[in-house]
């Protein structure tokens, strides 16, 4: 096997010729205040096979704004490491100029101003242009989709993922894995996988729940450029816990580290030249998994939405994180010889929508998919004077608006909103359309419930979610952010164990401390329980925004974070 030393040499060799990484080229561009498609795609071919990775597109067919997190804390061994480095620290770590295109694409620094300058990112028609260009240069390419593809927009919700299936088929994906796909339910997933998808739906860790036996194709072996390349799929491990298990009761998931090792050993025994893992584990889980499972050359990670400009090397494995929402496409050229990877060259290609020409065929397909819903999508509901974003460990401004809507429309003291990592961004001055509201709420279990909880239950819920995020063992992390709260203030010490992280719970309206024995009215959405009742969350928000007309949010000071 390749040693760490050899690996670093390979990496350095590439760097000596091309700068620190694909990103090294950008500083020049920033200085010129100009970007061109050719420069974004510039890549000197390397080795004999290319992997193209997209992940966590969340059904964003059109270009969007997506503000990267300001707070993304790492705990345990991950403390202070990528991807838990944000803002100015991130710029310093990767030697990126503030105000440059890469600073805009990769961090939250000065986001509003830079977004106005550099414009929206993503768009599947632009992604198609990039994919076609890479394939033209490298016919021996494999295009892999890490999942969270069929969910996240109004059109994907209304078509039960059909728009995304059609687009990904047209893009020519070679294999995918899954997470939110399952929230359309077993029947719909099977219908798509069995009769519509033109490529395999891989998941070595998807098991039959009753017999505990593998239930989906675990891997696919591709023959490219005279090489045999195994791509192993790893679906999101905590499906029935983080999402409603009743929608897919036939299946069990889990990290199943020993199963991953078994499958790697199986394809190695078949004599493949390269082993690639297409994973939806999340960054920290994958970093741990590849330190324990031997024989994976490249792991393409997903789920936690991290965009990292350089591969992370763990032992003999390189870990690639390609961001979310169509903002980036990763190109990874590999030199594979004698049954092993000898070196790599990598570039995280940012999809600046105003720079990359849309692929005409894909643009037409996207328009056709959207046409039946155009009027509904584009209807203006209100305007925002505040920057609206979600991503970050604690409340984003979109969450504050959603919690305001939930409390006001459902007449509750406290609002809870899920800490999902998807949800696009709106700039100050933007209109809020119905589609924008769906982009931060779309799901098949969006009922906005209203209930009563004791102070004790509230604390238990908060502690439980905090442990999903801040457990020092990545295998116990589910990859979401902290539950968002409205009407409730709290302190959190992220360095403590479960049960002692959360304190100082209080109602923001009165400042009154939460009493463990007292009951409070609580409203929220995205309950994983079957039979949850209430209006759809997007209707609740729409009604609230119509009443207020213009959104103006004060900075949220209700969460105090310590132990960083």
């Amino acid at each position: 096997m390749i040693t760490r030393r050899e690996f670093l040499q390979a990496s350095v060799a590439a760097s000596a010729i091309y700068g620190l990484s694909g990103f090294g080229n950008w500083s020049k561009l920033a200085a010129q205040q100009a970007l061109t498609q050719d420069q974004l795609l510039q890549f000197d071919d390397f080795g004999n096979v290319t992997l193209i990775h997209v992940t966590d597109i969340h059904a964003q067919l059109k270009p969007i704004f997506f503000r990267e997190p300001e707070i993304n804390l790492g705990v345990g061994d991950a403390r202070g490491k990528v991807p838990h480095v944000t803002g100015a620290d991130f710029l310093k770590m990767f030697n990126i100029q503030p105000g440059s295109p890469e600073a805009y694409a990769l961090t939250c620094e000065d986001f509003t101003a830079l977004a106005k300058g550099y414009g929206r990112m993503g768009g599947m028609d632009r992604v198609a242009t990039v994919v076609k260009a890479i394939r033209a240069a490298r016919p021996d390419s494999i295009l892999l989709d890490g999942g969270d593809t069929w969910h996240g927009s109004m059109t994907s919700f209304l078509t039960k993922g059909q728009d995304m299936v059609n687009v990904m088929n047209a893009l020519g994906v070679d294999a995918m894995t899954s997470h939110w796909e399952w929230t359309y339910g077993t029947d719909r997933v099977k219908e798509i996988v069995e009769s519509q998808l033109k490529f395999p739906f891989l998941g070595a860790n998807i098991f039959d729940a009753e017999w505990d036996e593998p239930a989906f194709e675990p891997y696919k072996i591709f023959e490219k450029g005279g090489l045999r390349i195994a791509v192993i799929g790893q679906a999101f491990p905590y499906m029935p816990i983080a999402n409603p298990g009743w929608m897919f009761p036939e299946y069990s998931f889990g990290i199943r580290e020993e199963r991953m090792q078994e499958v790697v050993d199986e394809v190695r025994a078949e004599g493949v030249d390269l082993v690639v893992c297409l994973s939806h584990n999340g960054f920290d889980v994958d970093r741990k998994m590849i330190s324990r499972v031997k024989g994976i050359d490249v792991i393409l990670t997903g789920h936690t939405h991290d965009a990292v400009p350089e591969p992370v090397i763990v032992g003999d494995t390189i870990l690639i994180a390609s961001g979310s929402n169509g903002k980036f496409v990763s190109r990874v050229d590999l030199d594979v010889r004698d049954g092993r990877m000898m070196g790599f060259r990598h570039k995280l290609i940012p999809i600046f929508s105003d720079v990359i020409t849309p692929d005409a065929e894909m643009a037409a397909l996207i328009d056709a998919e959207r046409a039946p819903f155009k009027d509904q999508l584009e209807e203006k509901i209100g305007t925002t004077e505040s920057l609206l974003y979600r991503r970050g460990n604690f409340n984003g401004s979109w969450d504050d608006l959603i919690c305001d809507a939930v409390r006001s429309e459902r007449d509750a003291q406290i609002a809870l909103s899920p800490g999902v990592r998807w949800g696009t961004t709106l700039l100050p001055g933007d209109a809020i359309t119905r589609e924008d509201i769906h982009n931060v709420t779309s799901m098949t279990y969006g009922q906005c419930y209203r209930t009563e909880m004791t102070g004790e239950t509230l604390k238990t819920v908060m502690e439980d979610v905090a442990d999903n995020l801040f457990n020092t063992d990545p295998y116990y992390q589910q990859g979401g952010d902290m539950v968002r709260v409205g009407g409730l203030a709290y302190s959190i010490d992220v360095s403590k164990p479960i049960g002692s992280r959360i304190s100082n719970l209080a109602l923001t309206d009165t400042g009154e401390a939460i009493d463990a024995a007292k009951s409070y009215t609580v409203a929220g959405w995205a309950s994983v329980n079957q039979g949850t009742e209430g209006p759809q969350i997007w209707d609740v928000i729409e009604s609230h925004i119509r009443k207020i007309g213009t959104v103006r949010l004060e900075p949220n000071t209700s969460v105090t974070v310590t132990g960083i």
Partner: protein, 139 residues
Amino acid sequence: MNLSRREALWVGLGGLAAVATPGAVLAATTEELTSAFTGGAAPGTDGITLTAPEIAENGNTVPVSVSAPGAVAIMLLATGNPEPAVATFTFGPAAGSQMAATRIRLAKTQDVVALAKMADGSVKQAQATVKVTIGGCGG
């Protein structure tokens, strides 16, 4: 508690007996059960593999399997349950392999412990933390 095929699948033919621990009048503690099983021997940690999910998908039925080549008996304990004893599997000389798999109910987040007694009287131990969560919010 009866173990049907659905609840317990075991590998190995002949000479294998599984004894589900009956509800005791007084629940024995993990320490009492451990010392009774080991006879005071300090357990080693190699040669035993316990496989359990990190986070239970359903705390009412958590798949757990344990393998200890050469064992004559394997005891499974759920240390955080009101009754920690889960089952003791014994293997006769004709057993093809010494491995057992079952599903257990876990009342809360806790360590599941497997102890294996070898033919020479030595003992091996493995444990795994299984989190029983109320559900989170996936990204």
